[in-house]
């Protein structure tokens, strides 16, 4: 089947097998290897990307389902050499160790903050419940999401403006 997908701001048209998973399309056809596979059963969330602004586990989405859609991956959220505030917050708070869950965790956290711009610890923990990390015990991830929330608040300065500037569509989860 022929699909046309915008990934990280570039439009691609490709012939794909109907069974091809979105994550394999991203990794193997487009070379977007920043998005990784962790579990194959949609439990770990390592493969999380945004599909039309909503987080999805790309191991559970077929490439053909992304036809006509916009996909944003971990490789498409920094702008002009500046990290996204959530990326920066993960770095600032040592919210990653091996880093394998990190792309998915960051994409999910961005989605969470779109829904809950000012989440408390419990809301953060529930918001990232579908993303597993084996290294950090989640404590510093929770801290990082809190810091990102502070920095992305309306009126929080350049960081907040930065995300508005570069997100052409509404970002948000279900």
């Amino acid at each position: 089947m022929r699909i046309t997908v915008n990934v990280d701001g570039t439009t691609y048209t490709d012939d794909v097998e109907p069974r091809l998973l979105l994550v394999h399309y991203l990794r193997e056809r487009l070379g977007k290897v920043g998005t990784v596979v962790g579990c194959d059963t949609s439990n770990c969330g390592a493969c999380t990307v945004h599909l039309d602004g909503h987080s999805v586990k790309s191991c559970s989405v077929l490439a053909v389902q992304a036809d006509g859609a916009e996909v944003t991956t971990i490789e498409g959220i920094a702008r002009d050499g500046k990290l996204h505030p959530v990326q920066q917050a993960f770095h600032d708070n040592h919210a990653l160790q091996c880093g394998y869950c990190t792309p998915g965790m960051i994409m999910q956290s961005i989605d969470l903050l779109a829904d809950h711009p000012d989440p408390d610890e419990t809301e953060i923990r529930h918001g990232i419940e579908g993303n597993l990390c084996r290294c950090t015990g989640y404590q510093n991830i929770v801290r990082a999401v809190r810091q990102a929330a502070e920095q992305m608040r309306p009126g929080a300065g350049p960081a907040a403006e930065q995300i508005d500037d570069r997100t052409p569509h509404t970002v948000g989860g279900e």
Partner: protein, 790 residues
């Protein structure tokens, strides 16, 4: 050239250098690698736990589109050798041949029987699903006590027994303590318990992946491994390939926790297929393959006898252990329980101790190292027993511990196992932890809730742990018959521009070595943190090493770095004296600058580096290079310790456990990077708590692993874990120049008994004295409602 004098780097919470690539998706995972003409593998795996392979039909698979070859165990039998086991724990240890692809029989569900080679991974998987294998079932051996009973069915009939080895330590015989049988005979109080350490899955987030590229005689292997150097040697020995023709690269590796401390069937298979096809080949496992076949951890049954006086003084401990090897002995499978053998006496002054371990074969996935490897099991046993002793004597559990622990003024202390603990301060860590925890207030609340018959009861769990890590002095390993030394290698290269390359034999997979080693070198050499680059995980750029496991990187690997820096400074001093026309003894070295004592005349290490590069004006006979290497063999283990306290609420109506607070005060000696150290503790706690509450690898009666995906194996998510309160005391290690101790495994070792002690403490007044792990709501509810029956 000028030098920016850095602030003190050691002790500073530097943000990690590693993060830049990890947070932007520019990470170098093995599965990201694409080589021209690369072929893909899919492995056909046995669904039965024990059987004879009567037929393998590969006809359909071979005719499928994109398929280049289908190979069975028989096809590789002449070249695959036997997967290595490096720890022959007793001279008469029984070890079956361990093929990478099964030949004739399969011995655990998930064992590989054939491999498909195809153009794409999808094509390989399609073809693999058509390979038709017939098995004749053999009796399945799963339960250890049954396996060692007379007349038991055998996993490996050729061995004539399911017992691989019996290893013992007796303080009376060793001369390090008394006779435990005498202590038991004369005991005023005996506590006898049996605990089960359930089987766990290391569950690193990055599934294992391997790529092999054959180029003429040379083979390059990329692998998601913790041990590139050991792997290289073992491939050479196992496959009879010249060691110098093999290069192993561990690129970014997504977690290990001991689970990637292995020489795997998949690495061997990929190597052999690549050699046969003359093409680069990749194999990446699915999560189910990973959970089924990557080695498991724990799986021990501990029969324990603690002898004590009525004042709470322990007089002896006897441990009779059954350890499940699974179907084969992998790299250090038989030694894992022995790593725990020296830790059952923990922080205590036990006068007599005996340990007997029986290593047992079963038709299950092989076990091997998992975070803590033997020491979590030991710590669980003794910390649970101390609570049981306190209950028996109606004493406060902390008071019982304090009566028995080594006082800070008694260090160095030789234990009943013969280990010399160099330093520690259990009083200080405990005082700080109990204060942070609000121990007395929580005890008061517990009393109140019991009096009110509150449906939600409160329990307090203690774990005052120590562990031995920083593996290890080579002589000790030799005495234990381990097939390797325990040293580590490092090299320092000063570049002409004054920048520094650090080569380390440690092989990071999430620990932050690039950052921590940069801090250490920045301090020791007096160069900016940013000017240091750390090279690791490639046998070409870091040619010597013993890799990363057993909390050894900082206490062994980083000390090698310090020793190499010392040599560079010594040489630089000779050059500086020559340039400044003074005696070497007149030079002071501080913050990267050599100064002629009592003058303003100076030169920097960077200036010296450039002078050496130019070599226009060097002392006669000096080689024009400013680099050095060092290999460091530790003189002792390191013994981190700490006091962990857990407050758990148990809903007596549902059995649900909620950790209300968790406080730990760890003493890991001098801390290089507090941010990284805290992160290590957090992750360790999560894994130890997960053993207490959530995780278990379960086999059904046919030997099928029923928890073979993350849908069935309960890895805790963010909602399943509390926020931790972590703090530290600092008693420097006296056995290394940095005063550091290991931290990687501490949280896992300490936390499991703290949690279970808290749960049992919450419901002990209801007749419960033990709950088997994991303490699921069903198990807790049953224990309460069956009056403490398991």
């Amino acid at each position: 050239m000028t030098s920016t004098v850095p602030d003190q780097e050691i002790g500073r919470s530097r943000l990690r250098k590693e993060d830049a690539r990890l947070i932007t998706g520019r990470t170098r995972w093995t599965d990201n690698l694409v080589l021209n003409g690369m072929l893909h593998l899919a492995i056909v795996r046995s669904p039965v736990a024990h059987g004879t392979i009567t037929n393998i039909d590969t006809t359909t698979a071979k005719s499928m589109p994109g398929v280049l070859a289908v190979l069975t165990g028989a096809d590789l039998a002449d070249e695959q050798g036997s997967l290595p086991c490096a720890w022959v724990v007793t001279p008469d240890m029984k070890a079956p041949p361990a093929p990478s692809l099964a030949v004739g029989t399969v011995n655990f569900a998930g064992e590989g029987v054939a491999v498909v080679v195809a153009r794409t991974a999808y094509e390989a998987a399609d073809a693999a699903s058509t390979v038709d294998v017939d098995y004749a079932d053999l009796p399945v051996v799963l339960d250890m006590p049954t396996a060692i009973a007379d007349g038991a069915d055998l996993v490996h009939p050729d061995l004539g027994t399911n017992t691989s080895a019996v290893w013992a330590f007796d303080s009376g015989e060793a001369g390090t303590g008394g006779d435990v049988e005498e202590a038991i005979a004369s005991a005023e109080v005996l506590i006898e318990r049996t605990y089960r350490q359930q089987r766990l899955v290391p569950a690193f987030m990055e599934p294992r992946s391997v790529v092999v590229d054959p180029t003429g005689e040379q083979f390059t292997m990329w692998s998601a491994t913790q041990i590139p150097h050991i792997l290289r040697l073992m491939l050479a020995l196992t496959l009879n390939v010249p060691e110098h023709k093999v290069r192993v690269i561990a690129p970014d590796v997504g977690g290990g926790f001991g689970g990637k401390l292995q020489v795997t069937p998949e690495e061997v298979i990929t190597f052999l297929v690549a050699r046969r096809m003359g093409k680069p080949v990749k194999y990446t496992e699915s999560r189910t393959e990973s959970v089924q076949t990557a080695h498991h951890g724990r799986d021990q049954i501990q029969k324990l006898t603690l002898a004590a006086r009525r004042d709470g003084t322990v007089t002896g401990l006897k441990v009779e252990l059954l350890a499940d090897m699974g179907a084969y002995l992998r790299l250090i499978t038989p030694g894992v329980p022995i790593l725990g053998a020296f830790m059952y006496n923990a922080i205590y002054k036990f006068p007599a101790y005996k340990f007997v371990c029986t290593n047992v074969f079963t038709n299950k996935t092989p076990t091997d190292a998992y975070r803590g490897a033997g020491r979590p099991e030991a710590t669980f046993a003794i910390e649970r027993l101390m609570d049981e002793l306190a209950t028996e004597l109606d004493m406060d559990p902390m008071a019982v511990r304090e009566r028995n622990w080594i006082k800070h003024e008694e260090f160095p202390f030789t234990t009943v196992c013969g280990l010399v603990y160099d330093s520690g301060n259990y009083e200080a860590a405990t005082a700080k932890a109990t204060e942070l925890f609000g121990y007395d207030a929580l005890r008061a609340e517990q009393v109140r809730r019991r009096a009110e018959n509150d449906p939600v009861q409160l329990g307090i769990g203690i774990s005052t742990f120590t562990e031995m890590c920083g593996i290890a002095p080579s002589r000790v390993l030799g005495a234990l018959n381990f097939g390797s030394g325990g040293w580590e290698h490092a090299a320092i290269r000063m570049l002409p521009s004054g920048k520094v390359e650090v080569v380390t034999g440690s092989s990071a997979h999430g620990q932050g070595h690039e950052t921590a080693w940069s801090q250490i070198v920045a301090d020791q050499l007096g160069v900016p943190f940013e000017d240091v680059e750390v090279l690791h995980g490639d046998t070409q750029s870091a040619p010597k090493g013993m890799d990363t496991y057993g909390s050894r990187s900082l206490t062994v690997g980083a000390i090698a770095v310090v020793k190499a820096v010392d040599k560079v400074i010594a040489k630089a001093r000779t050059v500086a004296a020559h340039l400044l026309e003074c005696a070497e003894s007149d030079l002071d070295f501080a913050s990267g600058t050599f100064t002629v004592r009592g003058t303003e005349t100076s030169t920097t290490i960077q200036d010296v580096s450039l002078a050496v590069f130019l070599s226009h004006n060097l002392p006669d006979g000096m080689e024009p290079s400013l680099d050095s290497d060092a290999t460091y063999d530790p003189e002792n283990f390191s013994f981190p310790h700490g006091t962990h306290l857990c407050a758990a609420e148990v809903d007596t109506e549902t059995g649900r456990v909620r950790i209300r607070s968790y406080v730990c005060v760890d003493d890991i000696g001098k801390v290089v990077n507090p941010l990284i150290a805290d992160g290590q503790v957090h992750g360790g706690l999560a894994q130890g708590i997960a053993q207490a509450l959530y995780e278990e690898a379960i086999h059904d009666e046919s030997g099928t692993l029923t928890t073979a995906s993350f849908a069935d194996y309960l890895l805790p998510s963010a909602v399943d874990l509390p926020s931790f309160t972590t703090d530290r005391t600092e008693t420097p290690a006296t056995t290394n120049p940095l005063g550091v101790k290991g931290v990687g495994e501490a949280g896992t070792i300490a936390s499991t008994p703290a949690v279970v002690n808290a749960i049992v403490d919450a419901v002990r007044h209801l007749g419960v004295r033990d709950i088997e792990m994991p303490c699921t709501p069903m198990r807790v509810w049953k224990a309460i409602n069956e009056g403490g029956a398991r």
